[in-house]
Amino acid sequence: MNTLTGYLRQAGTAVRFLLFATLVLGVAYHLAVFGAGQLIAPYQANGSIIKDSAGAPAASALIAQTSANDAGAQDPRWFHARPSAVKWDPASSSASNLGPNDPKLLDAVTTNRSAVAAAEGISALDVPAEAVTSSGSGLDPDISPAYARLQIPRVAAAQHLSAGTVISLVNKHTTGGLAAFLGQPSVNVTALNVDLAAAAPSK
């Protein structure tokens, strides 16, 4: 009986502790971080939204965008992002979660490889690994510089731009420096395509 009243008294303290701690840790803390973010780095805090040539929001620089239509066919005028387990839908995020020896993954990789080879008109042997594998988030905006280079001739032709123009856009969106050393050199497809839309003579 003593133990029971002891527990009940403790539970009463627990309820009050939780309630008032929630006001600090569950409300005030988040609002303080929100305020600090809006004050010192509103661009990042609001999702790194980049604008098109008309000044309208076109993308988040951090989130993949696809050029695929409903049937899944990629548009040759744009740079293509990596395969996605969630069809590049930012309302969700996931990897395939298939094991490294999974036959389903083997099939997917093989299919992707021939699709990329056909789209770029190159040998299947020249397709880089990240072009045929789905990312950890399904929203990966980046590809390797090698995969970007493979796509330049196709994009330049389809957009009626010179290869030089497209190359300079690719270079502009290639991550170098410390981030590339710690991680990998990457080309941001989302930001690249937004710039490409501004540069392209025809829509």
Partner: protein
């Protein structure tokens, strides 16, 4: 994707240097918080509102009762409020959370596991994220820390019942340690690109000619405490692989630093509180050695790029983010499983088989290198007591630890502690593989299917929370079994640690004699390391051979 060894070595060295530089100042600060008696004005107001008498100290049984009452109330509150989500503000059109998922999630966040059987994007709104999940991220981390503080007091104090006041310890740890560091970390993350707002943004995707909705939310504030408190439950389903939680390789390295920060400073605080800094250094050296060995093994296993599908892809890529690649992912995978974090920046299920195996072994070690906030240190202190006992057997003396006799009571408590998690992992994984209906939730075949189940129960019982994501655990069977693993894996050890703390505190100090085994220096460090590794190997080797070893070695 290729494994850049230079980048790997530089990042590992950078982490070691920065943590080594910070562990002393932070350790001193932690010890001051735990040993201080003065309360600030806001703290006194908080104590009055919560009905806490800050001046009284508790015996171990009362301290335990407070821990259990607080955790029970927290689980109930998180469960009920998730069920009522549809009625709560800031939840959009999301309905109440499914009862099995709500129960599993409540247990998961209160036990510092943060296993996510729910899909955040489609299950929980801003209200649940902020006021339930983020709050438990703070408080469950603080509970782990106060338990080790009570144990250290039990070791340091003599002939007393008093171990401190749970409520005061919990409040101080939350408000003086976790809150300020989390705030600074959240701001750093925002500067790096992590989102912190309360709205979604519609954008016009020119490439597909369609509009796209970019999600928002209080992500940076959640991410900071999720990592700092070694919690690991992501704001988004993809966790720290999601670009909004972890936008670049610099932030990824910062997150690894942050999840190692408090666990690696606690040994210094321990040394200071027991009045012998060498004790803290020995424990820290064992943690550091294990971390370094494990991260090297992980780097090697990831770089191997093993797997038929990986070979067909022409290399690593599946489950990795391009901006990270294999190096940051190997560093993250090791550090998240050697602590009780469980956040991931790459899909562990798609790692080469032996790399997945290293992640499992890390958790099986009991997450002691440096471990979860608090739980890592109390795990290693229990292993120190086991080591002292084994050394005592060799020299034929009654074992002592820091002036306290390790008698039959203490040994029984320590022995039960090290049996709890292996028993849970092996029994629950064993039962599950015998049930075809349960196994249907893991569609992989062969040893990989077993690995997914073994990983799940290892993660839950050790309160890690990372997953081989190929397994679906949202149904009733896994919700209940995983919930059981998380509850027992968290609270049975806590009961045993507090009982041990109480029993040590009652004793007087035995002066060290010629027969006392010193618990500092390389000899004892080596013994502790050996005991930790051998106990793990004896418990888990057979299970590992059926999963990751079979898949990794037989190909």
């Amino acid at each position: 994707m290729t494994f850049n060894s230079a980048s790997f070595v530089v990042q590992v060295a950078a982490l070691l240097i920065v943590l080594a530089a910070l562990h002393k100042p932070l350790g001193i600060y932690l010890a001051r918080v735990f040993e201080g008696t003065a309360s600030s004005r806001p703290e006194r107001l908080f104590y009055r509102l919560a009905g806490i008498d800050a001046g009284t100290e508790q015996a171990w049984s009362v301290y335990l009762r407070s821990v259990l009452a607080f955790s029970a109330v927290s689980i109930l509150a998180v469960f009920v409020l998730q069920r009522l989500q549809g009625l709560l503000p800031g939840s959009g059109s999301l309905p109440g959370v499914d009862p099995w998922i709500a129960m599993n999630t409540a247990i998961s966040f209160v036990t510092n596991t943060n296993w996510q059987t729910y899909v955040p994007e489609t299950t929980v709104g801003i209200f649940v994220q902020m006021t339930l999940l983020a709050v438990q991220n703070f408080l469950s981390a603080a509970v782990g820390i106060v338990i080790v503080v009570a144990l250290i007091r039990g070791i340091a104090r003599t002939r007393t019942q008093r171990l401190g006041n749970f409520w005061v310890d919990l409040a101080r740890t939350s408000f003086r340690i976790l809150l300020p560091i989390a705030f600074v970390a959240a701001v750093v993350m925002i500067l790096g690109g992590v989102v912190q707002n309360f709205w979604a943004t519609d954008v016009n995707n020119h490439a597909a000619g369609i509009s796209q909705t970019i999600p928002g939310g209080p992500v940076a504030s959640q991410e900071a405490i999720k990592i700092l408190g070694t919690n690991g439950g992501g704001y988004f389903n993809a966790n720290s692989a999601h670009p909004f939680e972890n936008p670049n390789a610099l932030i990824s390295l910062f997150e690894v630093f942050l999840l190692l920060l408090i666990p690696s400073a606690l040994p210094y605080a321990f040394g200071r509180m027991v009045g012998d800094q060498r004790q803290g250094y020995t424990v820290a050296a064992v943690m550091g050695t294990l971390w370094l060995a494990s991260i090297s093994l992980m780097g090697w296993a990831v770089a191997s790029g093993q797997g038929t599908a990986t070979a067909a892809a022409g290399g690593l890529g599946e489950g990795f983010e391009q901006r990270f690649g294999p190096v940051p992912s190997a560093i993250f995978a090791t550090s998240t499983t050697l602590t009780s974090t469980g956040a991931v920046n790459a899909a562990h299920d798609s790692l080469p088989p032996l790399a997945g195996g290293v992640a499992m072994v890390n958790m099986m070690l009991g997450e002691v290198a440096p471990g979860g906030t608090g739980s890592g240190l109390y795990g290693l202190l229990i292993l120190s007591i086991i080591s002292v006992f084994i050394a005592g057997l060799m020299v034929g003396r009654t074992p002592e630890y820091l002036g306290k006799k390790i008698g039959p009571t203490e040994m029984k408590l320590a022995a039960m502690y090290i049996l709890v998690t292996p028993a849970l992992v092996l029994a629950l994984a064993g039962i599950t593989v015998l049930l075809p209906d349960a196994m249907a939730n893991a569609p992989a075949t062969g040893p990989h299917q077993f690995s997914e189940v073994l990983y799940a129960f290892t993660s839950a019982s050790n309160n890690n929370g990372s997953a081989f994501g190929g397994i679906t655990t949202s149904g009733p069977y896994f919700s209940v079994m995983m919930g059981l693993a998380m509850l027992l894996g968290r609270f049975l050890p806590i009961v045993l640690v507090l009982a041990l703390a109480g029993s040590l505190a009652r004793q007087g100090k035995v002066p060290a004699s010629a027969g006392t085994v010193p618990t500092h220096g390389p000899l004892f460090g080596g013994l502790l390391l050996g005991v930790t590794v051998i106990l793990t190997a004896l418990s888990y080797f057979p299970a590992l051979t059926l999963g990751p070893l079979a898949e990794g070695l037989l190909k």
